[in-house]
């Protein structure tokens, strides 16, 4: 299998403000969000980062997408390092998040063209791909409707299409089904599987066990910024359900504290 993504000792700390220190009852000035993460993802697979809220999943994905500089370590995506060639990385990845809200004022068609142009996609290719994608997600009928007037589900579908205008080989998806309605969530998971069958590499973060079980080929469990367990779904579970495995692990790590 071809290794497409390789993260090596990624580490990120954040300064805590006075207020945050108070909230968290700590006198530490810094908090380690991601603590030396190392993992790989291969072509044609879905890699899931599983962890509770605040474990450092989003931070990790942002580092992979060059939105945040790692304090230590490096990640190589499709042969480009996030440290030395962030522009190269950006050309290869699509970064999706369920938090994306598109500007109400524009039409899906306009937004698609806008981001397509920013990615420097050839006009003709872009037009074809747009027709294809809009049809795939059923947006074609609403292509010229302002985003403000679209249904929530349609908006969510559009915010999945938009970051993929350049047909990236690596797709980074933060909390894919968070806040989606059931129908859209299904469309998203189906589409992720479709992308996998096209040979794309998908890295997603989630705290939903069923999603991991249904989608992921390999999974890494992150607790407190550290990779506790990483491997194929079967390896990680070791006979248990992923949910049981996770809670056992969580108890082991946090046991003394609670």
């Amino acid at each position: 299998m071809e290794e497409i993504v390789r993260a090596e000792g990624l580490r990120k700390t954040f300064q805590l403000s006075r207020k945050q220190q108070k909230i968290e009852h700590t006198t530490l000035k810094k908090r380690v969000a991601v603590d030396g993460l190392t993992f790989s993802a291969y072509a044609g697979e879905i890699f899931g980062l599983l962890g509770p809220n605040g474990a450092g999943k989003t931070t990790t994905l942002r580092m992979l997408s060059t939105l945040i500089h790692p304090d230590e370590g490096d990640a190589v995506l499709g042969g480009c390092s996030v440290i030395s060639d962030p522009a190269g990385v950006r050309a290869k990845i699509g970064f999706l998040t369920s938090e994306l809200k598109l500007e109400d004022f524009f039409t899906p068609s306009y937004l698609y063209d806008f981001f397509s142009r920013l990615h420097g996609v050839d006009e003709q290719v872009s037009r074809q791909r747009k027709a294809q994608m809009f049809e795939r997600f059923g947006i074609d009928r609403y292509a010229e409707t302002k985003v403000a007037n679209l249904s929530t589900g349609m908006k969510q579908k559009l915010s999945i299409v938009i970051p993929l205008v350049h047909d990236p080989d690596i797709i980074i998806f933060d909390e894919p089904t968070n806040g989606l309605d059931v129908l859209t969530a299904r469309v998203v998971t189906d589409y992720l599987q479709e992308l996998r069958s096209m040979g794309k590499t998908i890295i997603l973060s989630t705290h939903i066990f069923s999603l991991v079980e249904r989608l992921c080929d390999r999974v890494g469990i992150i607790i407190d910024g550290q990779m506790k367990l990483c491997g194929t779904l079967a390896e990680v579970c070791g006979g248990d359900t992923i949910e049981d495995r996770f809670f056992n692990l969580y108890k082991e790590c946090k046991g003394g504290e609670e």
Binding site: A87, A91, F95
Partner: protein
């Protein structure tokens, strides 16, 4: 380029936004100023044509002609009876167009006998009127002026600045100079404020809005260089702020004639500037729009969301207003070129100089160059901000 195009599309496609940012300031200024102008005019002229009854008790012989001459045609002068308390009571109704003038008996002889050294009170003329009634108070004003003039004629020893056959006017300032004094104190601040409010309407949504929606991440993951993004945002904002500024300016230009009463003052406030003045003004305004857009983009970038951005610009607005007020307290514009490196103040000074007919291309040049330099620093800073996770992603 794509960024600029998109911001323009965003702007020009939105009729409501165009209306509120470009058309509205001009229109609003035009309407408000025109209304203020016509309001003032109406207040001044109100009651001018109503008939007013001037009742006089014990009209002295000497003053009869004086008062008749002072009064306009629609004032009817009638003698009052001995008992005036009914008339006084009538006056308390503000719809009574009346003035009651009461001289002491034998006023003329009393005045003739009176000397200030006599230590007794001087003869007293009583004028009852109602200040809530425009006609009544107008006649009162004319009356007191006429009476005071009459009184002065007794003690007159010399005049000051009386127009003579040779000298019609003693103020030797040319009308141009007076006009430029007025323009140079008002317009620079107005122009700055207009530019500011225009930019204000659009800036928060430009960057803080992207942050709020989360689209900033999508933008930053594209292979586009961050400096391009920064430049695109700033350039498009400048153009839009300029448009809004121009609209306000047209509003001011059209409504000022209405605001200033016609006649003497209108003649004095003529607006005669040459082409080079306008060209210089354009440059200065362009440079200010650029700087304004840069500053507000930076603030917008720093802000967490659009609401926060709105709050953050307030102190900034105060600084600009203060800079705009300065020309009112100083007599001459600065002559030290270094002063023209100070952002915003330089534009104010330049505009003041231009409106005072003291255009200096050197200072205009320094101002434009300084502002362009600041804009570049702004682009650089904004690029840094796009690179900084703390600023772009501090959610709470």
């Amino acid at each position: 380029m794509t960024i600029i195009k998109k911001e323009f599309a965003r702007f020009f496609g939105d009729k409501q936004l165009i209306f509120s940012a470009v058309i509205m300031p001009g229109l609003l200024i035009y309407i408000i100023y025109s209304m203020m102008g016509s309001g003032i005019e109406r207040m001044v002229n109100d009651g001018e044509n109503d008939t007013v009854v001037l009742k006089v008790q014990n009209m002295p012989e000497s003053l009869g002609p004086v008062i008749d001459e002072a009064m306009t045609d629609n004032v009817v002068v009638t003698p009052a009876g001995d008992e005036i308390s009914a008339d006084v009571a009538l006056l308390s109704d503000k719809d009574t167009n009346m003035v009651l003038l009461r001289f002491p008996e034998a006023f003329d002889s009393l005045v003739a006998c009176y000397t200030p050294q006599s230590m007794t009170p001087a003869p007293n003329v009583q004028v009852y009127y109602n200040s809530a009634n425009n006609s009544s108070s107008r006649v009162y004003t004319i009356l007191t002026a006429a009476l005071t003039a009459y009184e002065e004629s007794f003690a007159n020893r010399f005049d000051v600045n009386r127009p003579t056959d040779e000298v019609a006017q003693y103020d030797m300032a040319t009308p141009d100079a007076i006009a430029s004094m007025v323009w140079s104190k008002i317009l620079p601040m107005l122009i700055m404020m207009m530019l500011f409010s225009g930019t204000m309407a659009i800036a928060p949504s430009a960057i803080a809005g992207e942050k709020e929606r989360g689209t900033i991440a999508t933008l930053l993951v594209t292979p586009m260089r961050r400096s391009e993004l920064a430049l695109g945002k700033i350039v498009s904002l400048s153009v839009l702020s300029l448009l809004s500024g121009i609209s306000s300016f047209i509003g001011i230009a059209l409504s000022l004639p209405k605001m200033i009463p016609a006649g003497d003052a209108g003649d004095i406030l003529n607006f005669n500037y040459v082409t080079s003045d306008y060209v210089a003004l354009l440059f200065v305004i362009l440079a200010s729009a650029l700087l304004m857009a840069t500053m507000l983009s930076l603030l917008s970038g720093l802000a967490k969301d659009m609401k926060n951005a709105g709050t953050m610009v307030v102190p900034f607005m105060l600084v600009i207003m203060l800079a705009g007020l300065l020309p009112m307290f100083q007599n001459a514009t600065a002559t030290n070129p270094a002063v023209y490196l100070i952002p915003f103040y330089n534009a104010i000074e330049c505009m003041t100089a231009i409106f005072s007919h003291e255009l200096s291309w050197l200072f205009v040049l320094v101002t434009v160059a300084a502002n362009v330099a600041y804009a570049f620093i702004g682009v650089w800073l904004l690029t840094r901000m796009f690179n900084s996770e703390k600023i772009m992603f501090n959610s709470k």
